[in-house]
Subunit: 412 residues, 4 copies
Amino acid sequence: MGAKETVEITGHLMDSGILSRILDDIRDYGGDYVIEQFDVGHEAQDPSSARIAIEAADEGALQRLLMRLQTRGVNQVALGDAAVASADRDGVLPDGFYSTTNLETQVRLDGTWHEVENPEMDCGLVVSSSAEGAPRVRTVPMSDVRAGMRIVVGASGIRVSVPSADSAADPFAQLPSDSSERPQAVLVRQVADTMRQVRAAGKRLLWVAGPGVVHTGATPAMVALIRAGFVDALFAGNALATHDIESALYGTSLGIDMNMGQGVEHGHEHHVRALNTIRKAGSIRHAVADGTLTSGIMHALVTEERPYVLVGSVRDDGPLPDVHTDVIEGQRAMRAQLHDVGYCLMMATQLHSVATGNILPASVPLVCVDINPSTVTKLADRGTSQGRGIVTDVGLFLEQLALELVPDHRRY
Amino acid sequence: MGAKETVEITGHLMDSGILSRILDDIRDYGGDYVIEQFDVGHEAQDPSSARIAIEAADEGALQRLLMRLQTRGVNQVALGDAAVASADRDGVLPDGFYSTTNLETQVRLDGTWHEVENPEMDCGLVVSSSAEGAPRVRTVPMSDVRAGMRIVVGASGIRVSVPSADSAADPFAQLPSDSSERPQAVLVRQVADTMRQVRAAGKRLLWVAGPGVVHTGATPAMVALIRAGFVDALFAGNALATHDIESALYGTSLGIDMNMGQGVEHGHEHHVRALNTIRKAGSIRHAVADGTLTSGIMHALVTEERPYVLVGSVRDDGPLPDVHTDVIEGQRAMRAQLHDVGYCLMMATQLHSVATGNILPASVPLVCVDINPSTVTKLADRGTSQGRGIVTDVGLFLEQLALELVPDHRRY
Amino acid sequence: MGAKETVEITGHLMDSGILSRILDDIRDYGGDYVIEQFDVGHEAQDPSSARIAIEAADEGALQRLLMRLQTRGVNQVALGDAAVASADRDGVLPDGFYSTTNLETQVRLDGTWHEVENPEMDCGLVVSSSAEGAPRVRTVPMSDVRAGMRIVVGASGIRVSVPSADSAADPFAQLPSDSSERPQAVLVRQVADTMRQVRAAGKRLLWVAGPGVVHTGATPAMVALIRAGFVDALFAGNALATHDIESALYGTSLGIDMNMGQGVEHGHEHHVRALNTIRKAGSIRHAVADGTLTSGIMHALVTEERPYVLVGSVRDDGPLPDVHTDVIEGQRAMRAQLHDVGYCLMMATQLHSVATGNILPASVPLVCVDINPSTVTKLADRGTSQGRGIVTDVGLFLEQLALELVPDHRRY
Amino acid sequence: MGAKETVEITGHLMDSGILSRILDDIRDYGGDYVIEQFDVGHEAQDPSSARIAIEAADEGALQRLLMRLQTRGVNQVALGDAAVASADRDGVLPDGFYSTTNLETQVRLDGTWHEVENPEMDCGLVVSSSAEGAPRVRTVPMSDVRAGMRIVVGASGIRVSVPSADSAADPFAQLPSDSSERPQAVLVRQVADTMRQVRAAGKRLLWVAGPGVVHTGATPAMVALIRAGFVDALFAGNALATHDIESALYGTSLGIDMNMGQGVEHGHEHHVRALNTIRKAGSIRHAVADGTLTSGIMHALVTEERPYVLVGSVRDDGPLPDVHTDVIEGQRAMRAQLHDVGYCLMMATQLHSVATGNILPASVPLVCVDINPSTVTKLADRGTSQGRGIVTDVGLFLEQLALELVPDHRRY
């Protein structure tokens, strides 16, 4: 082995099992290590810190291992300046590009640290100049790279910060990730409390929802939450919006939808007809404006002027005119809604929840509610980020949440 | 092929897909058939009827096919008297014994039809005489057979009746069996309505519950339902009662249980200590009487004088002194509580729900609530019987059910 | 009620439970019915037929109910000509458009029946003229409608044919849809036999696969099947191709992927680097040509000149340059590969399997293999179509399938 | 807070995340702590050790916390002698009894350490004298306590040892517990290698199996493994044995069983008749001896003279005469088969796998194979013990395992 580096990490290393994951990573990348120093807090609430000497086969392997470790919050001790290279072509990062984490990140250029403006994982870091000539560093997804962009390469000169595990701020701090056998009523209240706090702090509440919200009969609860100001933006797919609109347009068809579940989405003419109706109107907003659409979740979002981003998938039919059929365009539209988000609520959709988790900074706490434990596990288990999962029925959960936050919600 | 017989069936044959199952059965048993007559009701609500000529390889195969078909409600056209043979030894039925269904059944002896007193599937039929010398026919499980008992053999002289699909009486008549994507609030109300009707009709409400009821925080809701008279008997295992009692005894330990779920039942000293405490008291009733146990589900059952049957399993430790460690004894204790049951509610336990389903007559409607779809499918799909399933969170479901039936329940 | 129509259906009505579904549909759409005639075959293998008088609230409701019933194979008795209307605008079907099934369909124009060229469900039917001036009818998805197209409206003049339930051709005819507890080795052999028959008949084998194929170690089996000519086209997403290429490029990283499963797709730098490498090469084909990519599933497809269609989703990063980022474009590319498909094998992906199921004619038998029962249920339960499901481990299944079809496959 | 104690633990504390669980336990029991010393190995393979000062509200709470921590391998630093008290009555442990772990345990009496003969969790420790007058300590389940037994109370004078994480001995050391997306063929080979090693070391192979083994068609594979000497004992329930025997007795009925799965166990006359047949023979062994039973798993066990323990459950009917209907008696019969077990293979049964896991020492490695992830998680996640899980199809897994261990197995 030739290439070496010394790294350090500070935090609640043992409580969180993070050190165990770090050592696994080193082994998985074929590296070796010596723990040079380990300081453990004496009291329960003290943070601990470790300094670890790492060795890898060659410089390339070492740099990639260092990037991997930064996803855990591990920084190099000796931090020089970051290296930068130019992108040769559109859509392609330079060789050896720094692959980002979703943690708060700083980049050292000319001896000065610069905050990355919009942390997002699996991106490159592009260095540019502000109007005043000051250096700016922001993440760029691979597909948005343009030739000539100056991109950070290697892992030097970069440091990340793990969100402080402030248990007061995290209502679930004491709870393990799988919660199918925990007192659900308590969880509902904790989510409601966090929502109130986030709103009081002037932050936005981002929702991600699947068609199960409609199928389980939670439409009235969702409408109440929207009207009462607890939904600042909604990410979803064609299915949620189509089922919601179909229920609104074909009162008599409601029973069918409800009885049959998602499996009959196709081969069932009501939903195609609902799609055609909105396509004819031109958009959901137009359908509200011209009186075609008069109730439901999408109607509430339009009338309350809350933004929504609908992104298509290969299984859609129609789709609704509001749907981004290009998924990369859809991701861009989602990124444009992430500003000031203080809490993210993911309801009964694996596809859109994972997509949102991919672009969300680790500093935004999230809660994932699904009756399927595997969806919850995927979202809640995101390393250093603040994801929590609740395995329960989304219909009953939203009903209880609305009772908690909008006690008179049944009049909506 | 040699042995032949003609059978008939009447009912909503096409609505229910029952005819398809009958023809499958004939094929599976290696038989052949000709549909001799098929009368279909003209109007939607008319019953239809079919007459089918069946052929099998030999008389033994035919008799067994006829018994199989009776589980679907199919009777022979030419009904002579039933044949009877004596049991040679304890615990063993005579060769060719009639294997029962859970349908209402009549047996013809000396030209007269006699109602089977306690329909239960997979049993024998024992013929005896009443005090007045009149013939009586009742089911007998294999392990309760005693030498000398007179047991019905073959399928002659027996007819069964399928419960009338009276959709007014069946709140779920319009719903398919898997309901994870149906409006849950509607389902809660329908279950509540059925409970009120059954109670008003003077019938008993039988509950079957697993430890998930405690883990999901539904103890207050269950206690409220017990106190308000909506639980006439409870079937459960050692786990439900132990977790309930542990929560009642170790207030501070509640959090642990709740956080960890069933997986830590073992290796967790609180529950062993709770078991020892009740064993020391002698029984749950004694622990209530001597002031050791002062709250929870088991306490409510004791103080409200509602019977419970706890049956052990191989994974138990302890167990509680009230638990039947012999499963056959446990089944007998369960059977003793089936009289006048008008509705059976199964909550979050596959083992005890299947066990109860095994001994319950088809005429008793049941609802199975579980977050695990496979449990619900197993219970709800019981051929001609009136099983319905709800895939949801049992904690939130019971909370909503208690709100519906006992609006002021939070004061309990 | 005002509007009435008489319909008929022929087939194995009772075996399949189809009549039960038809009567449910009529009720769900608020209609009423009288069964006017019911002819049942005397022998087991005879088809039966029914004639049903249907009534609905008004003409619009009736037409929609008739379209719904056609998804079950139910046709009108009195078949006039089909009505046609012009599309006013791009992407919008005329009011009252006929919503297609995936069954073989004929349309009557000027007293003559015309076969629909490419059955697909949830589409419109567009009438045009061939080069010789003869009428042609084909399906058109909503988004491909162009102003001026002549589109069929209403349900008159249209008849559909249910695939004949030729049990000799259907290896699973005796098996229910959920197969988690059936002899798996038998199922593997049956799938292999069907593949051989389909190939012998000159038909194509279409595969749909998710990243689980790579994660479960089935890459060598898949490569063997491709090289031996058992894969004529592959539909997948960005994830399958990226994981396959990542494994091929980073031999040492294989362990990581395998250990961690899909959950770590993001936040793991190897896969971003693999994406960037292929983007730099320009395409997967270029990466094979320039020697960058030398093994794996995608490499085998390229070198064996088998077409693949990769369609993106909102959770992708990268994506690979070969991926259709516009899902509607992706659907078009998939449709272009449906010609002469005789069998469709769906492996471990719900998203792409449902998407393929949406565009596949009912006449193409399909098998869906997944460890998740809900995916299998969704695909296998497609009404009149020939879908079958196998709940099993896709890695072991493909290994056994390769052993069956390519006995010396380990040398690939 | 008043009561204090200092504890220590040595091992791979950070790799395993065990320290994090310890600190969670202290909090959950309402205690407090100061980490007094933490020595971390410098090299990757070095063990680390920690010394922690613990405080609890009172002596009782402290003792219980100490017992809880011993399940993690945490011992007291200052180890005096163990305290002993007499049991007052049968079936009841004295107050404050020491609740055991499943780790290797030593008890100090009169200044000398004595090994606990049969580690098992959730038991008491009974002190007696050997024939030579030397003290003996062994575990006693609550229900086997007899008045007058001398039982250890409190946590003093007891130390436990965590199994050394010898990765050479543990084929799965590098694998996380959930393996649904790992290369299954590799896992099969690793299980086979462990079986060969255990047998070579003169240890016994214990199997636990559910009826899914029969339903998935794995009977021939199981029979081959039994005949080749890879099954030293089998634990199961009434269902596995009944389904196996039914298949052996009713060749023609095999198809039914296979098609329908466990759901039709009841209401299906073949299995009741199989039960009656064996009851008539007197036992499975008698049925083999008299020529009634001539093939299948139970037949192979009898003819190869391998012991089996069948324990009943409340859902059984029959049951077979060999079944322990008293679950406590059943547990005793299982314990009698644990001697010299070197490896435990659990196949497709949650009930019997959990029951076996409860009585197995932590030093016996186990593997749990099930298509249901929740069963696997429950068994594999047993704190310090060596449980590993494989989420896969048990039928294909056993077929591959038999191919690996008994290459010519198809001739059996």
